[in-house]
Amino acid sequence: MVKLQRVVKPRTHKAKLALENREPKLIENTKTALFLHGHNTSELTRRCLKDLFALKRNFAKHMHQKNKIMPFEDIVPLEKFAQQYDSSLFGLINHSKKRPHNLILGRMFDYHLLDMVELGLEQYKSLTDIPGTKVSVGTKCCLVFCGPDFESDEKYKRLKSLLLDFFRGVEATSLRLQGFEHALFFFLNEGKLYIRSYKILFRKSGMRKPRVELMEIGPSSTMTIRRTKFASKDLFKRACKEPKKLQPKKKKNISKNALGTKLGRVHMTKQDIDNLQTRKVRALKSDKKSKSPAGVGTDL
């Protein structure tokens, strides 16, 4: 008899929930990040990773041990980590003579690599380097991307998508108007990426909308873009697939014309003309008298 592969049921309720939480969902969980140290790290990159972790604190895991992982050479160990910790974003730092102060940011789809970009830190100011109050943990930050390359170049378009994915945080439905605290700014110029982090301050403007002022809080960094590995268009398209259930249903019989006027088509049942009540005229009245042809003239 063929030996059946054991399909083990979770024994505890907790384990069952944990497994369910890992399964693919219609509306997905917020992506979590995994922060790792490579074979060799520098003080600068370590501080950078710590700050990145601080930015993503609620949805991240920081691993402090060194791992001999070179994602551009072999991605498999990283994919294993991703599966183990069920996280689809990763940030890995390493430092070598060839590529000093290296930060690799990436994302996965179905526990397999999708996009990955290697950034070299040139200037770095950490959260602690800049004095002053910081923002509270878990606030949704405004993301500002600046630079014509972000739209024109396919490579930087993907980079923007990756950074957006990395830093956007929880998908919110409502936000407190006074709760806007944090802004991240990404600026691209001649292959260099400038990342700045600001605290948002509200000033009076004499209107309901406040005037915004910014105060730098760190981390602030200037990076060069080194190696990149982006998913093929086909794979990316597959990853971006929206479930049919979430797609809005098309409403029937509603259309818009060229001027933008909403038009509706209404279907009616067929009118019963036989029993239609028309104007009541004596002449049309059918009574016993009218049946005789002589009677018609005399009545009038």
Partner: protein, 392 residues
């Protein structure tokens, strides 16, 4: 916090009016100039506009609180480091301001004296974390129920037990305890073996039910994954392939008293093949008979003729000998010569021309093989002399 000239700010009408009013105040009160100046300064701060004007309007995605500015970069600012920071800050400020302007126009909701803006869904398409979930495959029962239109009916979870006089759950928590309480004694059914352990029988039956259920669960999983699973019950390991099955079936059809002569063929069934009787193996005759002895003699002679060697080919033997000696020589000579550079060893051990000569000699040998006679002996002589030279 200052602003570059490039950012044009409009001053709204309302704000303008405020300013005029303040100026009027200055003229009226000369003594309190300092105080008024302070007020002006604070008012000036307030007056800064909230409008953002760009050549290309900013692209907003409020679901992600994302703004993209694709306006041309002022590259002149990148020469001075301090100027760069200020420039970047201004760009960021404009972006954030435009987000907030849009957010303040969204419909709001008030909860606990806090005003919340209702954020629309993100418009930027981002890749999913995991693929879109597939619908859970139906179990065999679910499929059957769906076909038949059987709908689940809610059944009570507890049943009144007449013996215990209490409500007993159908399954799960406290069911086992109730069962234990109820079955402290078991009746031996009629016609049953009186020495049979009824408790054991019951527990075994339960175990069987559990096993069956587990099997069904697994087979449902297997069906969902399209894996072949052997059927419940006795499975034969002998007939694995279609061919084996076919031969077995033929065999059974033939295995009647009349060797399948009156066997009916079913519809679409192939007629029985004609029984092939296996060819009888003819064993060699025994040694005792005369014919047997004769046969054996022939057989052995045949083998002997195969074994018998042709006459000694002198030429071949000599060549063989020479070759062997050559090989031995080269081995002994190269033992020391192999170390170090070839140039120091005195160049190539064997020239190309010598190789050619060797191959020619070989061709001669082939020719000589074809025609036996004087030519062959000549060839052999030449070869011999060559060998002699080598030995020197």
């Amino acid at each position: 916090m200052g602003h570059s000239a490039s950012n044009q700010h409009k001053i709204s009408v309302k704000e303008n009016r405020k300013k005029k009013h303040l100026y009027f105040g200055i003229m009226a009160l000369d003594e309190n100039m300092d105080k008024i100046r302070e007020i002006i300064a604070s008012a000036e701060e307030e007056i800064k506009s909230i409008e953002v004007e760009k050549d290309i309007p900013l692209e907003l995605d409020l679901g992600n609180l994302l703004v993209t500015d694709i306006n041309e970069i002022d590259k002149g600012k990148f020469s001075d480091e301090n100027e760069v920071e200020e420039y970047l800050k201004n760009l960021a400020r404009d972006g954030v301001q435009s987000i907030l302007n849009a957010v303040y126009e969204l419909p709001t909701d008030t909860i606990d004296n806090n005003i919340y803006a209702l954020i629309p869904k993100p418009t930027t398409r981002l890749p999913r974390e995991k693929p879109v979930p597939k619908p859970k495959p139906l179990t065999k029962w679910e499929q059957y129920a769906k076909e038949k239109g059987i709908k689940k009916t809610k059944k009570p979870t507890k049943i009144w037990d007449e013996i215990l006089k209490e409500w007993v759950p159908k399954y799960g928590y406290l069911k086992a305890a109730a069962e234990r309480k109820k079955n402290w004694v078991l009746e031996v059914p009629e016609n049953a073996d009186p020495f049979e352990d009824q408790f054991r029988k019951m527990s075994e039956k339960k175990k069987e039910r559990i096993a069956r259920n587990e099997y069904q669960r697994l087979s449902n999983i297997a069906r969902a994954k399209n894996v072949k699973v052997p059927k419940l019950g006795v499975t034969s390991e002998t007939m694995k392939s279609k061919f084996e099955m076919k031969t077995a079936l033929e065999q059974t059809r033939l295995s009647t008293a009349s060797l399948g002569k009156f066997q009916k063929t079913l519809q679409k069934e192939k007629p029985l093949p004609e029984r092939k009787r296996g060819e009888k193996r003819k064993l060699p005759a025994t040694n005792n008979s005369f014919a047997g002895i004769e046969q054996e003699r022939k057989r052995s002679l045949k083998i002997l003729s195969k074994m018998k060697k042709s006459e000694l080919d002198y030429e071949m033997a000599v060549n063989k000998q020479i070759k062997m000696e050559n090989v031995q020589m080269s081995h002994t000579g190269k033992k020391n010569a192999n170390s170090g550079r070839r140039s120091k060893r005195g160049g190539r051990q064997r020239g190309k021309s010598e190789y050619k000569a060797l191959s020619k000699g070989l061709s001669q040998k082939i020719k000589s093989k074809g025609s036996k006679g004087s030519k062959a002996s000549k060839g052999s002589k030449g070869k011999q002399s060559g060998g002699k030279r080598k030995r020197k």
